[in-house]
Symmetry: C2
Subunit: 283 residues, 2 copies
């Protein structure tokens, strides 16, 4: 049995955490990396990796794939710069919030274009292809581009599905709730503990509570219950007296957090109700 | 060396997850459990545990400690019911949002009163006393009550500090951000994925992002950085174009989540700024 991506010749624009990881996952599955380019060349793409070439010298004509792995705000600009030279048969970007249209200049120049967004945090490069197993890739664009994107995901043991242009902003917004949003809630909790001069064990305790909350959410998923059934605390159980004490204290001591507290309570109640209705339908 | 709580005779009112756990932690440290009472007696407090007595029969006069471990809304009522009979020298409740004054009837009847709130989730009973190690206990009340509360925490290898009456609502509110708040964000993300008909791998992906967010927060704590430095996403990096795409999509497809999204963005920016200022002061 040959490697699943044997014969695929590709280049990468952007040698950050995402680009360098996906490049190595593709190489591990048998693809041949021809070039890896950066807006800041002159170093190696990774330890013992190939040297980075300048983005303005990157021409990938005749190759099967060009992967553009740069930050969301830079995708359009990089696509415009690369479109001046012949490029690969298929070009995919890795942004979750943008759709294939961000690559319009490359499409006009003859490439099939699409996206391949890994729903995963890259706090550092993750070169081990085992990191790709089971994760979700959002795909869109031209049929041939989507086909190749799905072939890559399948080679990595990942799950791919089309997230079309009109669904992408909310798909991406939901990801920011789960990533940055969760950290923001913890940072707010830690700030409150600091303002009350409580010891660091309290902040560690809040972090433990959050870990417990995720464990509860995972259990709910495993048991095919809506996540609303896993929410704990006064808002979920309708303990109005405790919520009133929170709001009163926030008005005096942390009024900047009042709107966040109120909108969280509203969403909590909505989720608890949605869960209740779903569970009733089951029984 | 004798056990740290040897000679301590105590009873517990409330045989739920918290009460049954704390009872066994105290017993493991050498204390003698005299009675454990419930509003719903007639079964064992735990497998192979003592039988539950009726709350209305509980008299703990002559004992060192009565622990009241019932839900927040029930603490005052249980205190009033118990105050009709002689009770222990010290009475502690385990609520985080209430202060010692919730036990006023017992104080008038002669007990020293206080609170002992474990900052920990109890999704099920946690009988192993190792579960107590390193966790935070919020304490308040009469000096003698606080002293005993701190003695219990020390016996369990836990950290205790006074969280006085005026600080308790925010101390508890911050805990609800970290626990229920985190689950609510995930439930909202899962609801969005469902409304976009995305596969379950997306919801698992959001859960993984949240786990990664907590790992990033833990790293920040370990490195003594403010948690605001660990926030990822468009709000933290000031990517206004992406945020505008989110808000626009929310207005059309999920207007009920717009206020939550906006208040999260505001708090994220505040936390990122607070972190930036703190880091500048360090350097």
């Amino acid at each position: 049995m040959s490697a699943p991506l044997a014969g695929l010749r590709f280049s990468v624009a952007g040698a950050g955490r995402v680009g360098s990881s996906l490049a190595r996952w593709a190489m591990a599955a048998g693809a041949e990396l021809v070039r890896i380019a950066s807006r800041h060349p002159g170093r190696a793409a990774w330890p013992d990796g190939p040297p980075l070439v300048d983005l303005d010298d990157l021409a990938t004509g005749g190759q099967n794939l060009l992967l553009i792995a740069v930050g969301d705000p830079a995708v359009r600009e990089v696509a415009a710069r690369l479109a001046g030279r012949p490029q690969a048969r298929v070009v995919l970007h890795t942004s979750g919030s943008l759709d294939a249209s961000a690559l319009a200049p490359l499409r006009e120049a003859g490439s099939k274009t699409g996206s391949l967004h890994p729903l995963k945090a890259f706090p550092q490069p993750l070169p081990d292809p085992a990191e790709a197993r089971g994760i979700f890739f959002a795909v869109d664009g031209d049929a041939e581009a989507q086909e190749l994107a799905c072939r890559l995901a399948a080679a990595w043991g990942a799950v791919a599905a089309e997230v079309p242009a009109d669904a992408r902003p909310l798909y991406h917004f939901a990801a920011t709730l789960a990533a940055g949003g969760v950290t923001t809630l913890l940072a707010a909790a830690a700030e409150i503990a600091g303002s009350l001069s409580l010891p660091e064990a309290v902040i560690r305790g809040y972090l433990e509570l959050a870990r417990g909350a995720l464990a509860g959410a995972a259990r709910a998923l495993d048991e095919r219950r809506p996540l609303g059934t896993a929410i704990t605390g006064p808002a979920a159980r309708g303990d109005q007296a405790t919520l009133e004490r929170h709001f009163e204290a926030l008005r005096v001591l942390a009024p900047e957090k009042l709107a966040l507290a109120e909108s969280l309570v509203r969403e909590t109640r909505r989720q608890a109700q949605v869960a209740e209705i779903a569970e009733m339908k089951k029984n």
